[in-house]
Protein backbone atom coordinates (compact mmCIF):
# COMPACT_ATOMS: atom_id res chain seq x y z
CA UNK A 1 0.00 0.00 0.00
CA UNK A 2 1.64 3.20 -1.10
CA UNK A 3 1.20 6.33 0.95
CA UNK A 4 3.23 8.91 -0.88
CA UNK A 5 3.09 12.69 -0.73
CA UNK A 6 4.23 15.38 -3.13
CA UNK A 7 5.77 18.83 -3.13
CA UNK A 8 5.22 20.68 -6.38
CA UNK A 9 4.76 17.45 -8.34
CA UNK A 10 7.76 15.70 -6.82
CA UNK A 11 6.71 12.49 -5.11
CA UNK A 12 8.20 11.18 -1.87
CA UNK A 13 7.63 7.85 -0.14
CA UNK A 14 9.49 8.83 3.06
CA UNK A 15 7.83 11.44 5.25
CA UNK A 16 11.07 12.40 6.98
CA UNK A 17 13.51 15.12 5.92
CA UNK A 18 16.86 15.12 7.74
CA UNK A 19 19.47 17.68 8.61
CA UNK A 20 23.15 16.81 8.23
CA UNK A 21 24.66 18.69 11.20
CA UNK A 22 25.99 17.78 14.65
CA UNK A 23 26.46 14.03 14.17
CA UNK A 24 29.44 12.44 15.95
CA UNK A 25 30.98 11.75 12.54
CA UNK A 26 30.25 11.85 8.84
CA UNK A 27 29.92 8.07 8.83
CA UNK A 28 27.27 8.14 11.58
CA UNK A 29 25.45 10.90 9.71
CA UNK A 30 25.27 8.83 6.54
CA UNK A 31 24.23 5.69 8.45
CA UNK A 32 21.51 7.67 10.27
CA UNK A 33 20.20 9.15 7.03
CA UNK A 34 20.01 5.68 5.57
CA UNK A 35 18.36 4.20 8.67
CA UNK A 36 15.72 6.94 8.66
CA UNK A 37 14.73 6.16 5.09
CA UNK A 38 14.76 9.86 4.22
CA UNK A 39 15.04 11.05 0.63
CA UNK A 40 15.86 14.68 1.48
CA UNK A 41 18.97 16.02 3.24
CA UNK A 42 19.31 19.66 4.26
CA UNK A 43 22.57 21.63 4.12
CA UNK A 44 23.70 25.12 5.07
CA UNK A 45 25.87 27.40 2.95
CA UNK A 46 29.03 28.83 4.42
CA UNK A 47 32.29 30.41 3.32
CA UNK A 48 34.76 27.98 1.78
CA UNK A 49 37.82 27.37 3.93
CA UNK A 50 40.85 26.61 1.76
CA UNK A 51 42.48 24.41 4.40
CA UNK A 52 39.66 21.84 4.33
CA UNK A 53 38.05 20.07 1.46
CA UNK A 54 35.23 18.53 3.48
CA UNK A 55 32.62 20.92 2.14
CA UNK A 56 32.61 19.68 -1.37
CA UNK A 57 32.78 16.09 -0.23
CA UNK A 58 29.51 16.61 1.61
CA UNK A 59 27.81 17.79 -1.58
CA UNK A 60 29.23 14.91 -3.58
CA UNK A 61 28.55 12.30 -0.92
CA UNK A 62 24.91 13.33 -0.51
CA UNK A 63 24.34 13.61 -4.23
CA UNK A 64 26.00 10.27 -4.98
CA UNK A 65 23.88 8.62 -2.28
CA UNK A 66 20.82 9.86 -4.17
CA UNK A 67 19.46 12.39 -1.69
CA UNK A 68 17.62 15.48 -2.81
CA UNK A 69 19.79 18.22 -1.30
CA UNK A 70 17.76 21.01 0.24
CA UNK A 71 19.83 24.12 1.03
CA UNK A 72 18.75 26.34 3.91
CA UNK A 73 19.21 30.01 4.69
CA UNK A 74 20.10 29.36 8.34
CA UNK A 75 21.83 32.27 10.03
CA UNK A 76 19.97 34.96 8.07
CA UNK A 77 18.27 37.68 10.09
CA UNK A 78 16.83 39.79 7.28
CA UNK A 79 14.83 39.08 4.13
CA UNK A 80 17.63 40.63 2.09
CA UNK A 81 20.29 38.26 3.47
CA UNK A 82 18.00 35.27 3.07
CA UNK A 83 17.26 36.14 -0.57
CA UNK A 84 20.96 36.52 -1.34
CA UNK A 85 21.79 33.23 0.40
CA UNK A 86 19.02 31.43 -1.49
CA UNK A 87 20.37 32.80 -4.77
CA UNK A 88 23.87 31.58 -3.86
CA UNK A 89 22.39 28.18 -2.95
CA UNK A 90 20.62 27.94 -6.28
CA UNK A 91 23.88 28.63 -8.05
CA UNK A 92 25.93 26.24 -5.90
CA UNK A 93 23.55 23.29 -5.88
CA UNK A 94 21.66 23.82 -9.13
CA UNK A 95 18.31 23.65 -7.38
CA UNK A 96 15.53 26.17 -7.08
CA UNK A 97 14.28 24.56 -3.87
CA UNK A 98 15.18 26.32 -0.64
CA UNK A 99 14.38 25.91 3.02
CA UNK A 100 13.80 29.53 3.90
CA UNK A 101 14.83 30.56 7.41
CA UNK A 102 14.75 34.15 8.61
CA UNK A 103 15.56 34.16 12.29
CA UNK A 104 14.60 36.86 14.80
CA UNK A 105 17.31 36.41 17.44
CA UNK A 106 20.09 34.07 18.57
CA UNK A 107 18.45 32.95 21.82
CA UNK A 108 15.10 31.65 20.61
CA UNK A 109 15.94 31.15 16.93
CA UNK A 110 12.24 31.86 16.36
CA UNK A 111 11.26 32.93 12.84
CA UNK A 112 10.86 36.62 12.05
CA UNK A 113 7.61 36.04 10.21
CA UNK A 114 7.40 39.58 8.82
CA UNK A 115 10.79 39.24 7.12
CA UNK A 116 9.97 35.64 6.21
CA UNK A 117 6.90 36.69 4.23
CA UNK A 118 8.85 39.39 2.40
CA UNK A 119 11.61 36.93 1.46
CA UNK A 120 9.13 34.16 0.52
CA UNK A 121 7.30 36.46 -1.86
CA UNK A 122 10.49 37.79 -3.48
CA UNK A 123 12.02 34.34 -3.93
CA UNK A 124 8.80 32.87 -5.30
CA UNK A 125 8.65 35.65 -7.90
CA UNK A 126 12.29 34.84 -8.72
CA UNK A 127 11.34 31.23 -9.57
CA UNK A 128 12.18 29.49 -6.28
CA UNK A 129 10.20 26.71 -4.61
CA UNK A 130 10.21 28.16 -1.13
CA UNK A 131 9.78 25.85 1.87
CA UNK A 132 9.47 28.34 4.74
CA UNK A 133 10.41 27.55 8.34
CA UNK A 134 7.71 29.42 10.23
CA UNK A 135 6.01 29.81 13.58
CA UNK A 136 3.06 27.61 14.54
CA UNK A 137 0.79 30.48 13.48
CA UNK A 138 -2.08 29.45 11.19
CA UNK A 139 -2.51 33.01 9.84
CA UNK A 140 1.14 33.35 8.79
CA UNK A 141 0.97 29.84 7.32
CA UNK A 142 -2.02 30.86 5.20
CA UNK A 143 -0.20 33.98 3.99
CA UNK A 144 2.85 31.87 3.06
CA UNK A 145 0.61 29.61 1.01
CA UNK A 146 -0.97 32.65 -0.63
CA UNK A 147 2.40 34.03 -1.79
CA UNK A 148 3.01 30.69 -3.52
CA UNK A 149 4.98 28.44 -1.14
CA UNK A 150 4.51 24.78 -2.21
CA UNK A 151 4.68 23.65 1.45
CA UNK A 152 4.68 25.31 4.85
CA UNK A 153 7.02 24.24 7.65
CA UNK A 154 5.88 25.27 11.14
CA UNK A 155 7.95 24.49 14.21
CA UNK A 156 6.83 22.04 16.90
CA UNK A 157 9.08 23.84 19.41
CA UNK A 158 12.23 26.02 19.13
CA UNK A 159 15.11 24.66 17.03
CA UNK A 160 17.25 22.18 18.95
CA UNK A 161 15.01 22.29 22.04
CA UNK A 162 13.65 18.75 21.74
CA UNK A 163 10.49 19.87 23.55
CA UNK A 164 8.02 18.18 21.23
CA UNK A 165 4.74 19.57 19.92
CA UNK A 166 3.94 22.66 22.03
CA UNK A 167 0.74 23.63 20.27
CA UNK A 168 -1.00 20.67 18.69
CA UNK A 169 -4.20 22.62 18.17
CA UNK A 170 -2.47 25.12 15.89
CA UNK A 171 -0.98 22.32 13.80
CA UNK A 172 -4.43 20.78 13.37
CA UNK A 173 -5.86 24.19 12.43
CA UNK A 174 -3.11 24.66 9.85
CA UNK A 175 -3.63 21.20 8.39
CA UNK A 176 -7.33 21.95 8.08
CA UNK A 177 -6.95 25.37 6.47
CA UNK A 178 -4.01 24.80 4.09
CA UNK A 179 -3.99 22.93 0.78
CA UNK A 180 -0.20 22.54 0.56
CA UNK A 181 1.79 19.93 2.54
CA UNK A 182 2.47 20.74 6.19
CA UNK A 183 6.00 19.79 7.24
CA UNK A 184 6.77 20.15 10.94
CA UNK A 185 10.28 21.55 11.12
CA UNK A 186 12.19 21.73 14.40
CA UNK A 187 11.52 20.91 18.03
CA UNK A 188 10.85 17.17 18.09
CA UNK A 189 12.99 15.32 20.64
CA UNK A 190 12.23 11.64 20.26
CA UNK A 191 10.14 9.04 18.45
CA UNK A 192 6.88 9.72 20.31
CA UNK A 193 7.01 13.41 19.32
CA UNK A 194 7.24 12.36 15.69
CA UNK A 195 4.34 9.93 16.10
CA UNK A 196 2.21 12.74 17.57
CA UNK A 197 3.00 15.05 14.64
CA UNK A 198 1.71 12.43 12.23
CA UNK A 199 -1.30 11.53 14.37
CA UNK A 200 -2.29 15.20 14.12
CA UNK A 201 -2.40 14.82 10.35
CA UNK A 202 0.81 16.61 9.37
CA UNK A 203 2.37 15.41 6.14
CA UNK A 204 6.07 15.25 7.01
CA UNK A 205 8.71 16.07 9.63
CA UNK A 206 12.07 17.78 9.13
CA UNK A 207 14.46 17.06 11.98
CA UNK A 208 18.12 17.02 12.88
CA UNK A 209 19.02 17.32 16.59
CA UNK A 210 16.65 14.58 17.76
CA UNK A 211 18.69 12.09 15.76
CA UNK A 212 22.15 13.68 15.71
CA UNK A 213 22.22 14.33 19.47
CA UNK A 214 20.75 10.98 20.53
CA UNK A 215 23.08 8.60 22.37
CA UNK A 216 22.83 6.25 19.39
CA UNK A 217 21.87 8.36 16.37
CA UNK A 218 21.45 5.45 13.95
CA UNK A 219 19.15 3.62 16.32
CA UNK A 220 17.15 6.80 16.94
CA UNK A 221 16.86 7.31 13.19
CA UNK A 222 15.37 3.84 12.93
CA UNK A 223 13.04 4.49 15.88
CA UNK A 224 11.84 7.72 14.30
CA UNK A 225 11.27 5.97 11.00
CA UNK A 226 8.99 3.49 12.77
CA UNK A 227 7.29 6.29 14.73
CA UNK A 228 6.55 8.16 11.52
CA UNK A 229 4.96 5.08 9.99
CA UNK A 230 3.03 4.34 13.22
CA UNK A 231 1.78 7.89 13.60
CA UNK A 232 0.76 8.19 9.98
CA UNK A 233 -1.05 4.85 10.05
CA UNK A 234 -2.85 5.85 13.25
CA UNK A 235 -3.98 9.08 11.59
CA UNK A 236 -5.28 7.21 8.55
CA UNK A 237 -6.96 4.62 10.80
CA UNK A 238 -8.87 7.43 12.61
CA UNK A 239 -8.55 7.10 16.37
CA UNK A 240 -11.43 6.29 18.72
CA UNK A 241 -13.27 9.15 20.44
CA UNK A 242 -11.99 10.22 23.85
CA UNK A 243 -14.29 9.57 26.82
CA UNK A 244 -14.47 11.01 30.30
CA UNK A 245 -15.41 7.70 31.96
CA UNK A 246 -14.40 4.10 31.49
CA UNK A 247 -16.18 1.86 29.01
CA UNK A 248 -15.79 -1.87 29.72
CA UNK A 249 -14.28 -3.91 26.91
CA UNK A 250 -15.66 -7.26 28.11
CA UNK A 251 -19.41 -7.92 27.85
CA UNK A 252 -21.43 -6.92 30.94
CA UNK A 253 -24.10 -9.55 30.23
CA UNK A 254 -23.73 -13.18 31.18
CA UNK A 255 -21.62 -12.70 34.28
CA UNK A 256 -21.89 -15.82 36.54
CA UNK A 257 -23.77 -15.61 39.90
CA UNK A 258 -25.43 -12.32 39.01
Amino acid sequence: MSDTWTIEGREFSSRLLLGTAMYPSREVMLDALKASGTQVATVALRRVKPETDKNENLYKVLRDAGYLILPNTAGCFTAEDAVLTAQLAREALETNWVKLEVIADHDTLLPDTEQLLVAAERLTKDGFQVLPYTNDDPVVARKLEQVGCPAVMPLAAPIGSGLGVRNPHNLVLMRDTLSVPLIVDAGVGTASDVAIVFELGCDAVLLNSAIAKAGDPVRMARAIRHAAVGGREAFLARRMPRRLYADASSPTEGLPWQ
Binding site: T20, Y23, A44, V48, E56, P71, N72, A92, A186
Partner: protein, 68 residues
Protein backbone atom coordinates in the same frame (compact mmCIF):
# COMPACT_ATOMS: atom_id res chain seq x y z
CA UNK B 1 48.50 44.38 -6.98
CA UNK B 2 45.04 45.29 -5.75
CA UNK B 3 43.35 44.93 -2.38
CA UNK B 4 40.10 42.96 -2.17
CA UNK B 5 38.09 41.20 0.52
CA UNK B 6 37.67 37.43 0.08
CA UNK B 7 35.27 35.75 2.51
CA UNK B 8 35.73 38.62 4.92
CA UNK B 9 39.54 38.53 4.84
CA UNK B 10 41.72 41.20 3.18
CA UNK B 11 43.77 39.86 0.26
CA UNK B 12 46.30 41.30 -2.16
CA UNK B 13 45.93 39.82 -5.62
CA UNK B 14 47.48 40.40 -9.02
CA UNK B 15 45.92 42.98 -11.31
CA UNK B 16 44.20 42.17 -13.56
CA UNK B 17 42.56 39.14 -11.93
CA UNK B 18 39.53 37.24 -13.04
CA UNK B 19 36.96 35.86 -10.64
CA UNK B 20 37.65 32.36 -12.00
CA UNK B 21 41.31 32.62 -10.87
CA UNK B 22 40.29 33.65 -7.38
CA UNK B 23 37.79 30.76 -7.12
CA UNK B 24 40.46 28.28 -8.25
CA UNK B 25 42.81 29.52 -5.51
CA UNK B 26 40.19 29.50 -2.76
CA UNK B 27 38.08 26.46 -3.63
CA UNK B 28 40.34 24.38 -5.85
CA UNK B 29 40.02 23.60 -9.53
CA UNK B 30 36.98 21.37 -9.13
CA UNK B 31 34.45 23.96 -8.04
CA UNK B 32 31.29 21.83 -8.12
CA UNK B 33 28.95 22.92 -5.36
CA UNK B 34 30.56 26.36 -5.09
CA UNK B 35 28.81 29.69 -5.61
CA UNK B 36 30.28 33.17 -5.81
CA UNK B 37 28.97 36.55 -4.75
CA UNK B 38 30.59 39.81 -5.83
CA UNK B 39 29.58 42.94 -3.94
CA UNK B 40 26.35 41.28 -2.75
CA UNK B 41 25.39 40.03 -6.21
CA UNK B 42 25.49 36.39 -7.30
CA UNK B 43 27.77 35.80 -10.29
CA UNK B 44 26.68 32.76 -12.33
CA UNK B 45 29.41 30.21 -13.04
CA UNK B 46 29.65 30.92 -16.79
CA UNK B 47 30.50 34.56 -16.00
CA UNK B 48 33.42 33.82 -13.64
CA UNK B 49 36.00 33.71 -16.43
CA UNK B 50 35.00 37.07 -17.88
CA UNK B 51 34.40 38.93 -14.61
CA UNK B 52 37.26 41.19 -13.51
CA UNK B 53 37.99 41.65 -9.82
CA UNK B 54 38.83 45.27 -9.07
CA UNK B 55 40.19 47.26 -6.10
CA UNK B 56 37.93 47.12 -3.05
CA UNK B 57 35.69 44.33 -4.33
CA UNK B 58 34.04 42.09 -1.77
CA UNK B 59 34.01 38.48 -2.91
CA UNK B 60 32.14 35.65 -1.18
CA UNK B 61 32.93 32.06 -2.13
CA UNK B 62 30.52 29.62 -0.52
CA UNK B 63 29.79 25.89 -0.48
CA UNK B 64 27.41 23.51 1.28
CA UNK B 65 28.18 22.58 4.88
CA UNK B 66 26.41 20.32 7.33
CA UNK B 67 23.20 22.04 8.33
CA UNK B 68 19.70 21.48 9.66
Amino acid sequence: MIKVMVNGEPRRIASPSRLADLVAIEAGEDSKGVAVGLNRRVIPRPEWSRTRVTEGDEVEIIAPFAGG
